[in-house]
Amino acid sequence: MSSLLRGEEMCLAQLFLQSGSAYDCISELGELGLVEFRDLNPSVTAFQRKHVNEIKKCEEMERILVFMYCIITSLAHSLSLSLCLQEQLQRLEVELGEVTRNKEKLQRNLLELTEYTHMLRITRKFVQRTAEVSVSLCNLHPHFFISGLIQRVKIEAFERMLWRVCKGYTILSYAEVEEYLENPDTGEPTKCVVFLISYWGDQIGQKVKKICDCYHCHVYPYPSSNEERNDVVEGLRTRIQDLHTVLNRTEDYLRQVLIKASESVYTWVIQVKKMKAIYYILNLCSFDVTNKCLIAEVWCPVNDIPTLRRRKSGATVPSFVNRIPTSDTPPTLIKTNKFTSGFQNIVDAYGVGSYREVNPAPFTIITFPFLFAVMFGDLGHGVIMAVFAAWMVLCENNRKLKNTRNEIWNTFFEGRYIILMMGLFSIYTGLIYNDCFSKSLNIFGSGWSVKAMGWTKEQWENNRFLTLDPNVTGVFKGPYPLGIDPIWNLASNRLTFLNSYKMKMSVILGIIHMSFGVILSTYNYLKKYNLYLVFLPELLFLLCLFGYLVFMILYKWLAFSAKDSRHAPSILIHFINMFLMQGDGLQPLYPGQTGLQIFLVVIAVLSVPVLLLGKPVYLYWLHNGSHRLGLYRRVRRNSEEELYLMRAHDMEEGSSHSDLSSSGENPTEEFDFADELLHQAIHTIEYCLGCVSNTASYLRLWALSLAHAQLSEVLWAMVMRVGLRMDSTLGVLFLVPVFGLFAVLTVSILLVMEGLSAFLHALRLHWVEFQNKFYGGTGVKFCPFAFSLLPSSFEHDGLL
């Protein structure tokens, strides 16, 4: 519990690792995940460090694994990949590379042959057609043919250029291939066109060939006679058959190799990731003088040092753990479980707590859902929210829910316990407000009786509004046992009644919340004078002014009943008069009110200069005044010299801490009165003004709860009531879509939108109004070296 409240106590430890076993030790530490390593060579750039080569090798292996993964997924095969990992991986890569290259070559070959057969088939038609025309020409000139395939999109430009370059000394005929052929470069199926160019003369022939190259045509030799053509076709058919069998064999072989590899792919991936991480850590360590030992400095929770020692001595080569004194501020570690982590995240989002600072998270567990529920108070909506969250909690081990990549869903899922608490508290406040989808529940029977008023029939018929008078005996039989009486749901002055109640309630809650924050600040004060010179005036200021306001509210509630409610005074006027120190014209709430009020205002006003000047003046006196403290300071300086010597010693070892510990200068050494005064002045102004504005800020509790109640009432009146008003039998059918609309709007607007808005305001009340009373939040989070927290580039490739 104390660790949740204040964070773990941390210490700086030095690890001496035998260079032979350093790798194993760090791997062990990674499994434990207890320590954060400090960089002992901050001046060395990334590529000049010792284990750069090993890291490069790991990267090489990662690359091979990604390559293998690509092949495996392309075969749509489930896959899974030992030590001496690297050789094995490289062998596999070479093997796979060769086989896939062979396969590609074979496929290309097959494609060419298919194209050739298509061409021969189609050009036969051309020849039959053109034979009659070109007979006469054939005799005059030697007559050449070029034929091949071209992509359909290019044929037009091809034809045009052919015409321009050859000036018409060519005849081009073409026809489309009916089937889609695979494009060897992109692998996409494309439509192709078979063409046949007949031309005269060698020079034009060269040009035609160049143009064909330019348009990436696949040119195949054109058989000159019919017999030759038949021979070629026959030859092609047998070759295609052969290729098919070879291709099948290759694919089988590839599959076998991959199945073998797939058995261990996942373990290989994890091993490589761990290796890489370990070498990164080894790069952070420095060598001792003898070069036989690696020295690492780690931050470690004090409680875990025994665990660390036990694990270390368990290794085959002994290594040592030393606690070393330090003046650096340690990182903050607050151990959480799945329930508290969500609330801790809310606090950390504002700022990670300074080391050993009081942690607001344990209180947030209750106050956050409560303040949320004050704004969201509706039994029905609370039940829906709680049920949804409970479902997420019950299914939290479901892998499908856990591992989605949907960010919005992940946000909800991470906050399932917060949502559950918010839902449960909303049920509670819903009961208090007696609101369930804007309707009231009459569980215990209303405390009001209409009968006792004794209205006549005439009165019933002539008046639209009738007033129940609690002073008439029998009308008001006592308060409703839980929350607001359901009769208020019918009253026309319901809003006025609830507004006054909710407004006062939010002020009371706000001042309790803020006072609690101020009281929590006592945990953060290490010196006693802070208690008297900061905490006390702060608390007095808050309680004398606003605490008294709360007192007045409660007093008025208790002191005035229905009988004398006409004479009940306005608290606002009394409160203003308290500051103006007048109020003779008004009837006092209780005897001796004026005297007490003047006393309280005087105390509040006096606490301001104490808060402003007390601490700086006391520190100034401490610094310059007493002789006795001079002695104390000399003692301090001695210890400081020790620290300095230690640092110098570290520097000799080649580990400069200068940039890490520059912030750790002693404050007593450089006391600046002006600085301190300015700082305290800012704090005082902020605090005093803050008390006023923060109290007003808590009125958002009232405003949002009002907005929520009104929105749900409007929804009921505009949607559900329309459906319920239809009194024919058709009305039943009509109710179905109306209820659908009502349900959708309830969830989307009232639950999601209103919920988010109330969440945001609850967050603000915690971050600004509550935490600024005590929480600094300037710490650094403890990031242990743990394999379980490793980020992985493989995840982006979808491997894990």
Partner: protein, 358 residues
């Protein structure tokens, strides 16, 4: 009119806001002086790869199986730029799409001329194609070698490409040789840069304010380079002035004087009349590193392009980003070249981009 341009600025984000945001984001990934400092300390290409991993290039170099060579680095960087550019181009709406196309035309001109000179040296097209800049790739590219004269080149091959309008002055019946190819390049470039300049001027607003000085500088740079390179050739003054782009700051008086110039001193005398070029032709201070004329022009270009990012709602950022990224690739390749050839003393001769930023 300022009213018109401010209205354009109002609606700029409707069509081009996303891409401008994107390109500004990508600009934030341009290597800083700290990155260059670290790269210059590397001993092997592997070290450079390790360092580039921590920049926006990420796994660009580590995802290949082949051994790392300078040319591989170069082609990877180039491919990276092309990926980024094609992403911008495919999301662009007019007139930004036309503007982006204009950027590619200069690469197309270079590719055409390279293919012609390659064909003259009897090189195989398949060998030449991979060396073409992928930003200037087009379908008819491989057929360029067929043409014997500029007219044939135009009427048979390039008539369908966007380069066709630039051929107006370049059509001639003289046989294509290396000299002629170079003249063709400069004529095409002149037409291209003038057309780009007037296009930017027509867009108006901030785009014109930013792009015109950049293109004017580009035009003048070409003029100077043509003049310096023409020393010792049989190019006459009139020939030269036909090659000078007429949209620069040198137009018209500077161009007339440069056409007559016959040695470096005369060029310098012309440059002295223009404060922005005087700096470039100034003698280096004693003790400072010697820099070639080309490097000085590059430096100036980088400066101009950096200015483009100071204003919003204009197309200049796209041009500047491509040019800066190209300069960055040149810098990385230079450092890589120095690292592999162990020429540590020259490693710092790269041209820094955004020296002040971190």
């Amino acid at each position: 009119a300022p009213g018109f341009s401010s209205e354009k600025q109002l609606t700029f984000n409707v069509d081009h806001g996303y891409l401008e945001g994107l390109v500004r984001g990508m600009k934030a990934g341009i290597l800083t002086s700290t990155d260059y400092h670290n790269l210059a300390q590397c001993d092997t290409l592997e070290d450079m790869k390790l360092h580039l991993q921590s920049t926006d290039y990420g796994k660009l170099l580590s995802s290949s199986e082949e051994d790392l060579t300078v040319s591989l680095v170069d082609s990877k960087l180039r491919a990276n730029l092309v990926t980024e550019f094609s992403c911008l181009r495919s999301n662009a709406l007019p007139p930004l799409s036309t503007f982006l196309d204009y950027i590619t035309y200069s690469y197309m001109i270079d590719n055409v001329v390279m293919l012609i000179t390659g064909a003259l040296k009897q090189r195989d097209v398949a060998e030449l194609l991979p060396r073409c800049h992928p930003l200037g790739a087009f379908d008819q590219m491989a057929a360029v070698g067929i043409a014997r004269t500029p007219t044939e080149l135009y009427s048979a091959i390039l008539v369908d490409t966007p380069l066709a309008p630039f051929f107006q002055d370049a059509v001639s019946e003289s046989n294509l040789d290396e000299m002629e190819a170079e003249i063709l390049r400069n004529k095409l470039y002149k037409a291209y840069i003038e057309s780009f300049h007037s296009f930017c001027k027509n867009i108006g607003g901030v785009t014109a304010d930013i792009m015109c000085p950049v293109l004017e500088f580009e035009a003048d740079r070409r003029t100077f380079i043509i003049t310096v390179n023409s020393f010792g050739t049989e190019l006459s003054g009139a020939d030269k002035s036909a090659l000078y782009p007429s949209c620069g700051k040198l137009y018209p008086e500077g161009l007339r004087l440069l056409a007559k110039a016959e040695d470096h001193e005369q060029v310098k005398a012309v440059a002295n009349c223009y404060p922005e070029y005087k700096l470039i032709f100034d003698d280096p201070e004693p003790g400072a590193d010697f820099k070639t004329l080309e490097d000085r022009f590059f430096e100036q270009e980088v400066k101009l392009n950096m200015l483009a990012f100071l204003q919003q709602f204009h197309f200049g950022v796209f041009y500047s980003y491509v040019k800066l990224k190209e300069q960055e690739s040149r810098n990385i390749v230079w450092i890589a070249e120095c690292v592999t050839q162990r020429q540590k003393s020259k490693i710092h001769n790269y041209i820094p981009i955004f020296p002040g930023t971190h």
